[in-house]
């Protein structure tokens, strides 16, 4: 403790530590984590690592949400995105993660092109992010009220919060209908996903069938061939199912 104190004293002379803003510091922490991990997702070749980076990025974003006072959305982000979606995604990775598919290489030209386009898009976005005076002004730091209950009420169709200043008078409608629509939508998706991913009653899984038909000795070489060049043209089996 004493050492830390002395170190603090030393640096305090150089840096205005007393003026440190914890909120900004944590923002910086989470923002850097989110951005670095997002870029890492792009850069990584291994699918499982991509998933890991994505989790970290999304988790950091949840932290940003907490910082912005959107606790409910942040928890939601953790629960659904990180907890649910990613487990699902990892599932997919695992189910399809045979050696040849874990990392599929992309041509360097594609990467370069994507880099250029991404950079220009980022430039555009940054340009617009800094183009509005009001957005650039530092926050007034108004501590918002907890939002979980107002959101819950709003989802039930009752608005208890103050509407935005520029909203037309009398517009205080809740979100009951969207809420219901989303519920039904989720149900539909549940059914659809179950339907799409259901086990077809086939004697031999289609994947094995195809792999066997591409090249008679179904070996690692065959997998590599599938990975590298489009084998779909070698036979009509890929285009349609059994007639």
């Amino acid at each position: 403790m004493m050492a830390a104190m002395s170190a603090t004293g030393l640096v305090a002379t150089a840096l205005p530590l007393a003026a440190i803003n914890w909120h900004s510091t944590f923002f910086l922490l989470f923002a850097v984590l989110a951005c670095v991990c997002a870029v890492a997702v792009v850069a990584a070749d291994n699918v499982v690592r991509m998933a890991l980076y994505l989790v970290l990025s999304l988790g950091a974003t949840a932290g940003l949400f907490f910082l912005a006072g959107a606790e409910f959305v942040g928890a939601m982000q953790l629960m659904i995105y990180v907890g649910g979606t990613l487990v699902l995604l990892v599932f997919g990775v695992m189910l399809t993660a045979q050696a040849p598919f874990v990392s599929i290489k992309t041509a360097p030209g594609d990467r370069a092109l994507a880099g250029i386009v991404g950079a220009s898009l980022l430039a555009v976005l940054l340009l617009s992010a800094f183009s509005v005076e009001e957005w650039r002004k530092p926050a007034a730091g108004v501590v918002g009220e907890p939002t979980a209950t107002p959101i819950g009420m709003a989802l039930l169709g009752v608005r208890v919060d103050e509407p935005p200043a520029h909203a037309p008078a009398g517009v205080r409608s809740g979100y009951l209908l969207p809420f219901e629509i989303v519920s039904v939508h989720l149900l539909v998706v549940l059914v659809a996903a179950a339907y799409l991913a259901r086990a077809k009653r086939r004697k031999t899984p289609r994947a094995i069938e195809v792999a066997a038909s591409v090249e008679p000795p179904a070996s690692v070489a065959a997998h590599a061939a599938i990975g590298r060049e489009p084998a779909g043209r070698s036979g009509s089996v890929l285009v349609g199912g059994p007639r």
Binding site: L10, C35, Q77, A114, G118, E134, V143, I151
Partner: protein
Amino acid sequence: MISLIGSTPLGGGLFAMGLFTEPVSVAHYLVVGAILFTAGIACMAVKRNALGVLMGIELVLNGANVNFVAFASPYLQAEGSRGLGLDGQVIALFVILLAAAEAAVALAITLNFYNNHATVDVDRADDLKG
């Protein structure tokens, strides 16, 4: 700890920009959102693995969500501005929910694709090309 960060060149630069001391603004969040968004787009454009494309989509949606939350947060608003209020958060909520739904369906499609084509390479999903 902070002092250590501050003593590094990068940390010093950040201090110079006032990032540790000044309150953050909406624009800060927008920058994060833009980076996430761009990373997502790039991910979609680069990855040949269908799951990678999916992750790119998640990133894009998340980038958009960051913007929504930023505009909604009263804490981040400049003096005299209220932002989107609750609406932004609720929209972010819906985006998350729909992203989950989208992920489920997309994953199911991917699995189906894998069952039929024995691969998850999106470049091979060109049976219907012109």
